[in-house]
Symmetry: C2
Subunit: 96 residues, 2 copies
DNA sequence: TTAAAGTACTTTGAATTTCAAAGTATAATT
DNA sequence: AATTATACTTTGAAATTCAAAGTACTTTAA
């Protein structure tokens, strides 16, 4: 068992780390909130959220606000558990 | 300025994060030490150390131990500074 | 003494991932 | 009615990641 065993590769990328951090402290965030908070491009937000969706760490809820489409991103129970594990592993790795 | 602005992409990957963590607390580590501590393949250690060398966060020292080649990996001053910045940014991001 | 196996890496290139530009569909503005 | 804006999604080229294979010895065994 190596020292990086509990570092989750789903969170290896800073944008995905950012998305999860946001969704840990906010019940949800929409596309533009993620985009603005992370300073990422549209395509980037789309692909990194999709990657987190694929492993079921986040889920989406699509609705209309007025006449406009709006997508809410929320962390799943699994996502929150795995993210916490990741943070613990990070702290163990770097933090003495 | 986004919330992931000070997250350094050189440390996005868990193996590179591991290498740096090891080199922050040990004056140096050799190839096999990195390989064993990280549970990575030879090719992986080679390419991730090379990536960190390229940005001058680590440097290598090659010598012979007896008749065998041996490579020491050491964090540079720059590498230590940048890694500390990264950790601080991580803590700000995830830490409440 | 020479053949086979081991050591310490490095190289390779296929597979996967990342990226932002372009595309889609509809809404708002002029 | 035509242009611009909004909220994403799709695309595929570029960059990165991966482990298998290669290199250059050294050690062990026959």
């Amino acid at each position: 068992m190596s020292i990086i065993n509990n570092i989750n590769k789903a969170f290896d990328h800073r944008i995905r780390l950012g998305i999860m951090s946001i969704l840990m402290v906010n019940d949800y965030a929409d596309f533009n909130m993620l985009k603005e908070l992370l300073g990422a491009t549209d395509g980037n937000i789309a692909s990194h959220t999709k990657a987190l969706e694929k492993v079921e760490y986040i889920k989406i809820e699509k609705q209309f606000i007025g006449r406009k489409p709006n997508t809410k991103y929320l962390a799943t129970k699994l996502g929150k558990i795995e993210f916490k594990k990741h943070i613990d592993a990070l702290e163990k790795l770097i933090g003495k």
